[in-house]
């Protein structure tokens, strides 16, 4: 583990992180995240039918099933691939929204279709349905939709994570010292930014709110992992007893004793996400699986960056403490000399 913590490699890791974070920020500013899961621009055909169809039959088949089959045949003929949803048509009565279940809209959504193709397909569906008297009241309409970003949650979330990390690391500072607190803050911010940057760069299709949630997961995992590293640092310092132990030696000992544990924690978090993602439904999978990034990043940063950041801060504090101690000794000696005289 300590081979990976050489100064040369540390410079490489810092450069790598910096490049990824800066590139992520630039790409986010220019392109934003890839919110494809939110379907920011969609087109769809709505086929709406009422009670006559809901309760009716065509031949021996239920009318809704026959209707959907007819519509889907038209779409297949037109070469349009689609996703299907069922929506209950409701109404506002006495300030409440209610649906009777007697009017239904079947929504066919298209990822790639031109307006002309959609208009033609909607017309063809209407024609195909018009041949059946049971479908006299069915309406067919095509629509385009463009979603608008609601950004307040994003910036509030970013501030929340930053403040949360600062408060949590104040506790770390009180318990483990300023060097641990400052290094922890660096690690925590790094992890949240690094995770968000990966999503901006890799263009992984996510839901609009999701990158922030993943950054949150990364910040939480980072705080947990860094606390474990701090515990190990303290153990190493305690084990040294009254002997003076240098910051780099302390970091080496902590890294050697904690890397397996840190990897286990990151691995366990990733496993939790993986199981949730693999067992869950398609939409859930798309939301949960990318959180693995946020679980794994803290292992990299805590061991390879955090401990290296810790070293100079700790050295500076050791030096300061030593000079204070020296000053006290000198003063004491001076006082003793004066007393002797």
């Amino acid at each position: 583990m300590n081979k990976l913590r050489s100064n040369k490699l540390f410079a490489l890791f810092v450069a790598l992180s910096s490049v990824i974070i800066i590139a992520g920020i630039v790409l986010y500013a220019v392109l934003g995240f890839n919110n494809a899961q939110d379907k920011p621009a969609t087109k769809y055909i709505d086929v709406t039918y009422g009670a006559a169809v809901v309760n009716g039959t065509v031949g021996e088949e239920d009318a809704p099933a026959y209707l959907e089959k007819s519509a889907e045949e038209v779409l297949s003929t037109a070469g349009l691939s689609f996703e299907k949803d069922h929506l209950d048509v409701g109404a506002i009565t006495s300030g409440n929204i209610g649906a009777s279940g007697q009017q239904v809209t079947v929504r066919y959504s298209f990822a790639n279709a031109t307006d002309d193709a959609l208009e033609a397909a909607a017309g063809d569906i209407a024609k195909a349905l018009a041949s059946q008297p049971a479908f006299a009241d069915v309406t067919v309409a095509w629509h385009t939709a463009e979603s608008l970003a609601l950004t307040k949650a994003a910036w509030r979330g970013a501030i929340a994570l930053a403040v949360g990390a600062v408060v949590a690391l104040i506790y770390v500072t009180v318990r483990f010292g300023v060097s641990c607190g400052v290094a922890g803050l660096v690690v925590c911010c790094h992890d949240a930014l690094f995770t968000a940057a990966i999503f901006a760069i890799a263009r992984i299709p996510v839901f609009g709110f999701a990158p922030l949630l993943y950054a949150g997961v990364a910040a939480f995992a980072s705080a947990a992992v860094w606390t474990v590293v701090c515990i190990k640092l303290r153990s190493a310092w305690k084990a040294a007893g009254s002997e003076e132990i240098k910051a780099d030696a302390l970091a080496d000992t902590a890294a050697a004793s904690s890397w397996k544990l840190v990897l286990c924690i990151a691995g366990a978090l990733a496993a939790v996400v993986l199981v949730l993602g693999l067992v869950a439904a398609a939409g859930t999978r798309a939301l949960v699986l990318p959180a693995i990034v946020g679980c794994l990043v803290p292992a990299y940063s805590s061991l390879l960056i955090g401990l290296k950041v810790f070293e100079p801060i700790r050295k500076a504090f050791d030096k300061k403490r030593a000079s204070k101690k020296g000053g006290y000794v000198r003063k004491k000696k001076k006082a003793e000399l004066e007393a002797e005289e």
Binding site: D38, T48, D85, L87, D88, V89, G90, I92, G95, N96, I97, G98, A99, D115, T139, H143, T144, A145, E146, L148, L150, K152, A153, R156, G157, A160, L161, V163, G164, A165, V167, A168, L169, Y171, F209, L212, L213, G216, V217, F220, A223, A224, T227, V228, I231, I265, A268, L269, V272, V275, L276, V279, A280, A281, A282, G283, T284, L287, V288, A291
Partner: protein, 541 residues
């Protein structure tokens, strides 16, 4: 602890856990009419994970639910059309109505109806000529700023009936969309969505989490645009507004400062803040109020709030409550405040299609999330049983003591609900509990291996592990709760659930787990074997 006391304690805990398990996870019927819904099923769910009984319920199974609902989660979607824009359905329905009127008058063939028939035919022709189709929408042809309201339109027709939109209409529409976006954002509801549909209509999706009452009012308030006005009178028709001083260029903002949502002891209210002049005006108006006069808070042509004035009102901030739900009070306050302080728009919107949507991730999403969590818990249990043999039972109790209170907390705390982020936080909490428990068990294993008795090993391990476990939990709890208080939406729910999970995990791993260990171990003859702990083998020199 003695065997009898341990047995008593374990029996009580087992009964309690069995009861909680039943309440939390099992739905059943008893008698002919009553159905019991498990807490897991009746917990609020977000729009992505909605779940219910509608599809699967057998006849008469869940009709007796007190709130009459059969589905939790999902959401509502509403389409708003600006004045002068019609949906295909609305246009065709009106056209059919006019055509039917002409047909019926023609069929009657009565000479006395001749004028009426001519008028109906002219109306039909005008209607056809006054609307132009583009995409799936119909637009009224005419100038947007026409003085005659009947001639007011949104577009003009060029060569080949090409539709050109009025720039003033486009600007008003953009301003209205911005206001709508602000209102929806400020509502702070998870999974809310605003879409511009067919370029000149807007669709808003809000989760069913906003409550089972007043959702229609929320949607109507969101789509209410226009200038704000304050009126007083005995009815809407006879109510009069404030007489502004023309010399001072007064506007309504010289009388009303702002409107905002406030929760007074849990009661959702709308607070209206008046200026000194506004307070004076309301005071004078209501000097002889007797309960049959009202204060009307208008946005555009619609009174968003109607307040009965039963006595003189002399307050700088008026708190209005009633049958409001929190989102309803918020939407009313936002409609007034954005009309007062936002970008001005006089474009009126009407509510068009209303849709009720079930789980956006599909009907199985919730069940699969539960299964995924169950798989995780079973995997952790197997790991602990393999490593620690019968000590795994102590962990099993710890896990159950963590799990059921978590379900109850998510069900009982109003800000929480079941969503993907909740499942994620509960799973992370369980992992934290497992890691902390394993850490203390490993500590005891090491102590025992060195030759100490099991009691001393457990004691020593908990003493050594207390601060590391405490530190880990306190750091996570701090970051969680601080994040919750500032963030909104999914992150806030994740953070709060994570905070609760961390607190529970800490309590269980440091206190309850140790007690359970002592109780369960009191029955074991070979305590080392019970825990699968072994002594270190010493080599003879």
């Amino acid at each position: 602890m003695g065997k009898v006391k341990s047995a008593l304690y374990l029996t009580l805990v087992t009964i309690l856990l069995a009861g909680l398990c039943l309440m939390c996870t099992v739905s059943f019927n008893y008698g002919d009419f009553k159905g019991f819904r498990s807490i897991l099923l009746s917990t609020e769910k977000d729009a992505l994970l909605g779940n219910g009984f509608s599809g699967e319920a057998t006849a008469g199974e869940y009709e007796m639910l007190t709130d009459g609902s059969t589905y939790v989660g999902g959401g509502y979607s509403v389409v708003y059309y600006p004045e002068g824009v019609l949906s295909q359905d609305a246009y065709e329905s009106e056209l059919e109505r006019r055509q039917a009127l002409c047909d019926s008058l023609t069929a009657a063939g009565n000479e006395a109806d001749g004028d009426e028939l001519a008028k109906a035919q002219k109306d039909l022709k005008d209607y056809e000529e006054n609307y132009a189709k583009k995409g799936s929408l119909y637009f009224r042809v005419g100038a947007y700023d026409a003085e005659d309201a009947e001639k007011k339109g949104v577009c003009s027709l060029g060569e080949g009936n090409a539709v050109t939109f009025d720039e003033k209409f486009e600007a008003a529409f953009q301003a209205a969309v911005c206001q709508l976006q602000t209102r929806v954002t400020e509502l702070g509801l998870e999974d809310a969505r605003v879409e511009v549909r067919d370029t000149y209509s807007v669709s808003v999706f809000l989760p069913a989490l906003m409550g089972t009452q007043g959702q229609g009012n929320v949607m109507t308030d969101l789509g209410t645009f226009g200038a704000f006005d304050l009126k007083y009178g005995s009815s809407e028709d006879s109510a009069t507004g404030i007489a502004f001083d023309a010399d001072k260029n007064e506007t309504i903002r010289d009388y009303v400062k702002s409107a905002y949502y406030v929760s007074n002891g849990g009661t959702p209210s709308v607070a209206i803040s008046f200026t000194k002049a506004g307070r004076e005006a309301v005071k004078n108006w209501t000097a002889e109020a007797s309960g049959s006069t009202y204060l009307y808070f208008y946005v555009g042509d619609r009174s968003v709030i109607t307040l009965t004035a039963s006595q003189q009102i002399d307050q700088s901030t008026l708190y209005i409550s009633g049958s409001y739900t929190a989102p309803w009070a918020k939407s009313a306050a936002l409609a007034i405040d954005t009309a007062l302080n936002g970008q001005a728009t006089d474009l009126a919107f009407s509510v068009g299609e209303v849709y009720v949507q079930e789980a956006l991730f599909g009907g199985l999403a919730f069940t699969l999330c539960c299964i995924a969590c169950a798989v995780l818990f079973v995997a952790m249990l197997i790991g602990m049983f393999v490593r620690y043999h019968l000590l795994g039972f102590v962990y099993l109790y710890s896990l159950l003591i963590y799990l059921f209170p978590m379900i109850l907390l998510v069900w009982g705390i109003p800000v929480l609900h079941l969503g993907i982020e909740t499942f994620l936080a509960v799973a992370f909490g369980a992992l934290l509990l497992t890691a902390s428990t394993a850490y203390t068990y490993e500590g005891a294993r090491k102590e025992y291996a060195q030759g100490k008795t099991i009691v001393t090993s457990v004691k020593g391990s908990y003493k050594k592990c207390f601060w590391p476990v405490f530190d880990l939990h306190i750091v996570l709890a701090l970051i969680s709760f601080v994040t919750y208080f500032i963030a909104m939406g999914e992150l806030a729910v994740f953070a709060f659930t994570m905070g609760l999970a961390t607190v529970l995990s800490g309590l269980i791993s440091l206190a309850v787990g140790r007690f359970d260990w002592a109780c369960m171990m009191s029955f074991a003859k070979d305590k080392g074997k019970f825990c699968n702990f072994k002594r270190e083998e010493l080599e003879d020199e």
